[in-house]
């Protein structure tokens, strides 16, 4: 673990109320972030990494709650593909989240947590906040914005809505719009949270938290991050710590035990209301819709170079969605690279050991 490259617990308050797509405003807005590597004198080596739904700013440093290594330490660090010896890496917690940036668990005007009084936010709202943050940091133009999954949505949205802000865009395992299937899975998760009696219409901050609902939401979502092949290889139909089926409803199968563990672990580090708000933001995401229904229009003002990467086993944001993005970038005559990498891990491939991804990331950033 590279404690030495991380500056702990940084936070920045946006200097104006943040206008939102809903028409509402959010104020004050606190953005918690981490940085790695030195910013050079002319501030031209900054890379913004955008995190995924349940990610956070601890991209390459120990998570303060779980004590686990950063979520992308295999990619970010000294001598790694996103090289902290060369680049100044910024990773900020999105608004709506729960790791220090303003979200539903933050105190609202009444002094009590916002809970469901927190405004519904969009991916563009998250990016608007990041744009203001970068301005306050004095970083005019990013060397690159990088993101996987929801992070990729933010990267695309930043390039589309703040074209001056970014010279390169690396969008991995992502989409320009949420499909009906994507929305459907999220709705299962949200309904599981809301069905938990502890949810209390969101006002649970002084009592028991809706852990069962949040755990079920995580379990359902987690399945979508893996591939059938990966699940079969990892668990098959193997039984958990027993020789025979119990003829009951314990976690007989290893895959059940694994999902339960994933679900309960998640509740230790994530706020259920944040999960509602962020999944909603993802479901509302349709970059073409924001730009007159034509995705090519979204990038009309951009002068960035793009690299789009998909994985053959990712059925959450399949290659066809990436091709859709590439098609639009071609129509806008922008320089774009696209590759579908072969990896067995499903959507989560972008976080796991895929050496080809390392080579692509390193190559794209070096050019």
């Amino acid at each position: 673990m590279n404690h030495n490259v991380a500056d702990k617990a940084k936070s920045l308050r946006l200097n104006a109320p943040l206008p939102l797509d809903s028409g509402r405003e959010l104020a004050p807005v606190e953005i918690a972030y981490e940085t790695y590597g030195e910013l050079n004198a002319d501030k031209s080596n900054a890379i913004l990494i955008c995190h995924a739904l349940t990610g956070d700013q601890y991209v390459a440093s120990t998570h303060p709650v779980t004590g686990k290594p950063g979520w992308w330490e295999r990619m970010v660090g000294p001598g790694k593909p996103i090289d902290t010896d060369r680049f100044h890496i910024i990773c900020a917690n999105v608004i709506g989240s729960c790791m220090g940036s303003t979200g539903p668990a933050s105190d609202g005007e009444s002094g009590a947590p916002y809970a469901m009084q927190f405004p519904v936010i969009t991916i563009r709202d998250m990016v608007r906040a990041l744009d203001v943050m970068l301005g306050q940091m004095g970083i005019e133009r990013l060397y690159c914005v990088v993101g996987g999954s929801m992070g990729g949505m933010q990267a695309l949205s930043l390039a589309a809505n703040f074209p001056e802000r970014v010279a390169r865009v690396l969008a991995i395992a992502t989409t320009a719009r949420h499909s009906a299937q994507n929305i459907a899975f999220h709705e299962v998760g949200r309904q599981a949270i809301m069905a938990d009696p502890n949810w209390q219409a969101g006002d649970y901050y002084n009592g028991d938290t809706p852990d069962s609902g949040l755990a079920v939401a995580r379990m359902a979502a987690h399945i979508t991050y893996l591939s059938e092949e990966g699940l079969t290889e990892k668990f098959g139909r193997r039984l958990q710590d027993r020789d025979a089926k119990s003829f009951g409803f314990d976690a007989d199968f290893q895959v059940e035990s694994y999902l339960r563990y994933q679900g309960s672990g998640f509740t230790q580090r994530f706020d259920a209301n944040s999960y509602l708000y962020i999944t909603r933001a993802m479901d509302y995401f349709d970059l073409a819709e924001e730009h007159g229904g034509k995705l090519g229009n979204a990038f009309a003002q951009s002068s960035a170079r793009f690299c789009v990467v998909s994985f053959d086993s990712d059925w959450l944001y399949p290659t066809s969605e990436s091709r859709h993005i590439v098609h639009a970038l071609n129509a806008a005559a922008l320089p774009v690279s696209f590759v579908e990498l072969s990896a067995p891990f499903g959507h989560d491939s972008f976080l796991l050991d895929v050496p080809a991804l390392d080579r692509v990331v390193e190559g794209f950033l070096s050019a």
Binding site: R305, V326, P335, V339, E340, R359, E362, G363, S366, A367
Partner: protein
């Protein structure tokens, strides 16, 4: 990047003017694109079917999209490029005629090279061996070759004429040597054409 280019590619690298916009279709490992962008400041883009080749291209900093030229060329806007390059790929296309139309739609001009099926060695293999030729430029047996539309220099000239396109220039090769145009349909293993409409 100094690597030895194939003879058809080195002609293209020589002929494309500095600063041009080029789409290299079936760009392989990106050797031509790298030469063009490194030496001439050309804005080079590539399209390549093979994922590991694309990965190699991106890793060397080139803008290459993984895709199938037969279907994906249609996504590019009209005249988006000064030159569209199709080197030794025409014969692998599902519809070479449509491919040629697309080339001259996305590019102001096109460079097209292909192994000439009427080369004497190919003719001899058929005539005397009675077998589908396996030669230096067509090294794979008939049952596994990606070359599904063999073409001769005469065939190609006819297709270009039928499409109302113009042959601006042509180059012919035997071995790695450039040869003259006379008797090219017998003598050339490889032909390169510069086309316009």
């Amino acid at each position: 990047m100094s690597e030895t280019l194939r003879p058809d590619l080195s002609i293209i690298a020589r002929e494309v003017p500095a600063g041009a916009r080029v789409l290299d279709i079936g760009c392989g490992d990106g050797a031509l694109m790298a030469a063009l962008s490194d030496n001439k400041g050309v804005d080079a883009r590539g399209l390549e079917l093979n994922a590991s080749q694309v990965e190699r291209c991106v890793a060397r900093g080139l803008s290459v999209v993984q895709g199938d030229a037969d279907s994906d060329l249609a996504e590019y806007p009209n005249k988006a490029f000064d030159y569209a390059v199709l080197s030794q790929t025409l014969q692998t296309s599902a519809r070479p005629d449509q491919m040629l139309e697309q080339l001259l739609r996305v590019g102001q001009q096109a460079f097209v090279s292909f192994p000439n099926f009427a080369h004497w060695r190919t003719r001899a293999a058929l005539m005397f061996g009675g077998k589908m030729p396996v030669t230096r430029t067509l090294p794979v047996s008939w049952f596994e070759t990606p070359n599904i539309h063999h073409v001769t220099i005469v065939d190609f000239r006819e297709l270009v004429a039928a499409q109302g396109a113009r042959i601006e220039r042509s180059w012919y090769f035997a071995g790695d040597q450039q040869i003259g145009a006379s008797g090219a349909n017998w003598r050339a293993e490889l032909a390169l054409f510069q086309l316009s409409r």
